[in-house]
Symmetry: C2
Subunit: 197 residues, 2 copies
Amino acid sequence: MSDRPPPGTETPARPRRSDATRAAILNAARDRFAAEGYERATIRAIARDAGIDPSMVMRYYGNKEGLFVAATDIDLRMPDLTAVDRDRLGERLVRHFLDVWEHDERLTGMVRVGVTVDAGAERLRSVFRDQLAPVIAAVCPVPDEAAVRAALVGSQIIGMAMARYVVRIPPATGLSHDEVVAWLAPTVQRYLTAERP
Amino acid sequence: MSDRPPPGTETPARPRRSDATRAAILNAARDRFAAEGYERATIRAIARDAGIDPSMVMRYYGNKEGLFVAATDIDLRMPDLTAVDRDRLGERLVRHFLDVWEHDERLTGMVRVGVTVDAGAERLRSVFRDQLAPVIAAVCPVPDEAAVRAALVGSQIIGMAMARYVVRIPPATGLSHDEVVAWLAPTVQRYLTAERP
DNA sequence: TGTGTTGGTCAACGCTTGTTGGCAACGTAC
DNA sequence: GTACGTTGCCAACAAGCGTTGACCAACACA
């Protein structure tokens, strides 16, 4: 409890001896949550992975939900779309997401958790709101339409991610990157730039 | 164990006194699995909902996974697409799925479970394979392309379902049925009928 | 009427879970 | 050098889980 300095008066970044342990816990937690979902990822297993005692997890993160919140920071590494040819926005986005999904299995896991537990769903909503929506709003001429267009793009992207990486529907897993781009890019392009129907 | 008659010699349909109980268990199981996912839905809670003892669940369905398998039959009630105008296939499909998703919350729940536990993912794959793919293959002129086209359609449909009903991303939940159809129908139509890119 | 089958309850089992509190070793500041 | 906060381990807790087996009541059938 006398662990973190009082919020607001936070000291710049005084390193603590336990920082390595904290990091190890977060790393193990991310992997376990991603691989097994919220319920099956036990504090005991996470602690074992991190090479410490389960009680340390409690001391540093309060309880399991606290650990989950601390462990799940999702970064989509969104590109700046204003620098992209207007008629290649769809292709650029689809390619980017294929890249992100494929290089960080934790994202798949976070979707898994986001679907199961409330705190996870809130995380996904915040990722949509803070990372995807703004980037899309920046290239949307009518500000009022930005949110809906972002949601549409998000729906197609997350749907393909579900099909390929989470549920693993065979025809979807068999597609090459180029094939996925060829099919999905026009969809995303239309959601971004087409007149509102 | 001496419960079901030996498979193969199954007697036509002799009703058992316990049929009502069995049905009550399945109903309660469906609701609990849908609402809380596989892990949080406990056999004890399901039995309580059904008004019987937990041990009955074990007797009738062997174990928790057996109950899950028995409880999760998903019926998409797919329409016959061969009777639909070729250039309205997209609209027809999107409208159908909106209808199905909105009238059976259990579907949402099954996605939740399908994402979490292996047996659930297998269920989703079988639904895709046995219910969605055949219907789409029936209107696909090039048989070899049917599976991929079905997967593409499925990705957009399941993505919108995730956005609207599971994660509940605000801009997506705010869309009316007609708006969803207006945006998604052309996408699905293209996945179904457009030349392979 | 007697006997085997079916539908159901009850109490307990072994196990895992998140969580807690006590206690030892270490480092640092006075 | 002693007092104190930090870091860590250990052992235990209460609760909840899936699962089992003994036992009873009602029925079906001879």
